[in-house]
Amino acid sequence: MQFTLNVRRYDPEAENPAPYWREYEVDVPENASVLDCLIHIREYVDGTLAVRCSCRSAICGSCMMRVNGQARLACATKAKDMQADGAAITVEPGGNMPVLKDLIVDMDVFWNKIRQVKPWLEPVQPVPEREYLVPNETILDLTVAMNCVMCGACVSDCTSLEVDKNFIGPAALAKAYRFVDDPRDDTRQERLEELSEYGGVYDCTHCFFCVEVCPKDVAPLDRIVEIRERAQNAGVTNNAGTRHAKAFEGIIRDSGILDEPMVLLKSIGMNPVEQLKNVPGGVRLLRAGKLPLASGPFHHKIPGHDNVKRLFERVEAVEEAQPAQGVKS
């Protein structure tokens, strides 16, 4: 079957290195993957095309790239599913990582973030003579996170990372979850505290792209939300993220509509230095007309506020009946 691929190329050794597009026609079996097409190009059409690949069965994580604008494993993406009528399949390197050549990105960015979460078990002492005894349900829960093949699709398409290089990111946080929820790990509390700091679980903006693009159903966002719950249940609340969540909840309960300046103040806490740091941002928001003036004592309740209150009561009743166990997806 014929496919047309439009591949974003980059040759760092060119005289004036700049990305460019190159179109290829390939004739491959109907059920060929996008990776099969690229391998065909590399082997028989244009050997200069650089792409990382190995297992061809979605287990090694090498061939993450953007196909039709979205991060995917090229080996697990059928070409015929990507080729809309007459249009070429666009193939680009993954995002949020520097391109080294063609479809090859610098994964050091990715691995440095993984290392940041101390991704190894700190065993509970004393280490038993035989294996630690662990319920199988716990193992099944950890297996969801261990399914990750470190392909970087979630990092490529993470919108928080795009604007905040300090964010630890979805892959590393999902990896961290695997230790937070491992009963054999002795550093759970320290992990929860570190993960709740700046750059950690509260810096995710819930865009859900990581869930959508993950080829192994790790659902990093769900893992992030679970770490937050574990942290709050473990009393790790003295951080901007928890204060933000509590302020948000309190204001909505009291008035039904967000009082943004107050959320900001409460999130920062009673720290004048931090408060001052936010003044320039506040001024910019004001200028853009994005900061409502009706704040604090001038903030109004919305009509029908009683309904909002009743919603809170119903949620609380459900939560009481089922003590928090974390969201299972």
Binding site: D11, P12, E13, N31, I39, R42, E43, Y44, D46, G47, T48, A50, V51, R52, C53, S54, C55, R56, S57, A58, I59, C60, G61, S62, A76, L100, K101, D102, I104, M107, I114, R115, P119, W120, L121, P123, V127, E129, R130, E131, Y132, L133, V134, P135, N136, I139, L140, L142, T143, M146, N147, C148, V149, M150, F179, D182, R184, D185
Partner: protein
Amino acid sequence: MLEHDVLVVGAGLAGMQAALHAARQGVSVAILTKVHPVRSHSNAAQGGINAAMEDDDPWEDHAYDTVKGSDYLGDQDAIEVLCSEAPETIIDLEHMGLIFNRGSRGQIDLRAFGGQARKRTCYVADITGQVMLHVIYEQLMKAGTHVYEEWFVTSLVRQNDAVCGVVALDLRTGALELIRAKAVILCTGGAGRVYEPSSNALICTGDGYAQAYRVGAPLMDMEMVQYHPTTLPGNGALMTEGARGEGAYLINADGERFMERYAPNMMELASRDVVSRAEQTEINEGRDIDGCVLLDVRHLDRNTILQKLSQIRELGLEYEGVDIIEEPCPVRPGMHYMMGGIKTDIQGATFVKGLYSAGEAACVSVHGGNRLGANSLLDTLVFGKRAGESAVLYADGIPFADVPDSRLQEDREHIERILARNGDDGERAATLRLAMGQTMHEHVGVFRDQKGLEQAQATIASLKERYANVRVDDTGKVFNTDLLFALEVGLMLDVAEAIVSSALFRTESRGAHYRTDFADRNDDEWLKHTLVFHAETGPRLETLPVTITQWQPAQRTY
């Protein structure tokens, strides 16, 4: 000058285990790998890792099953090491953080696997290898071991009688460097790409076999090539033996569980060589469905499939468009594993001083003529550790060798000659590899005979001649994967030649090596290993006795 007391080549399970254990002895250790460690092919081991974990399961029983599985070609001293050290290896792994599936008391659960008299396989769903690889990599990050990531060894450096370093290409920059090492450990994995199709990844090009062979280390039992009974016809991807361990059936076009006729006791869980031969017989005799038989799990509990076989369900959906919950999936025997490899002793030492090996690259031999499923992961860890520790003992106290610059120049010129042939009239490496792979599959597969093997030998010889004219499109330095592939194909042709010569040499049938012209096992003449040495005139063959400790060869039925 780059130098390390111990340099490990390859970062799969064997390589990382060797490096971790060498580093614990306090010497300077580095790993060199052509892909990031977690991209290594250990990932693909789905089903599990064997160990006699239960009190009423003596390790000797595991050893006996392994000896029998090997068709009595495995060296029994090595198999005793493998099986007696298995339980502690599993416990070490669990303490490192491996998340094995658990039984009702929270203990490590066991599943059934082929060729074994009882359940003995520890597992994590059907992603055991992946989880092991990632957990060992966690330990490597913790230890802070230096990794030459995306580097490729172009040759081993041998001075006088010892290996004392490597010449290697930094794929990111194109720089060619000499790395001196007192000891080199080859953990470069298998050579699936020598065959087409194969369940193996694109990186499994047998680099270490050819490199060791070229510096004088012999390869052992290279004719012993495992065909896995359940690979997908489309891309050769593996459907774990764990499926049959959980109770899957194999059926032919008549809907018959044909294993009744070949292995009435063990049925689908007979050893892999037996099941693959049975399938190929069914296929050859016309009871096939488009060259395949069917793997049927429809009678299994839906939750079992979703929890324990979810990855292969995805593979079926992805590559064959079959949901194994609803329909049986077409499968056929596919090239999967090299029982043979670089001959080592039980400490991982090869015949050349300073050169060690472990994992699929090595042949200790614990697998003999046929490897049992879930013994390969065990092999990587048990002998990876031993190779790491014994390389340190050797390296301790000896000086780095002086290596002349001319040694680097040789490899540089070889590369420049390939890069210079970027015109249209040379040979594409891919064309040569495909011809090699198809020939190997056709003539050196499940069934072999002299005529076919001689034909394969002639084809490989002519491909080697054509390879002298191999060309590339890419003349750049950064990530020149075109050049890398051309270099790999050159190495693979040596591996293919060694396999074919060994297969011609062994005039009997044993384990995975089935000669239709010598259909019986012949213990009088062939209860011995084949050894192949590199020589200017072509492969030179010798034999080595099999080590027998407590299990005398007997007839093998399942």
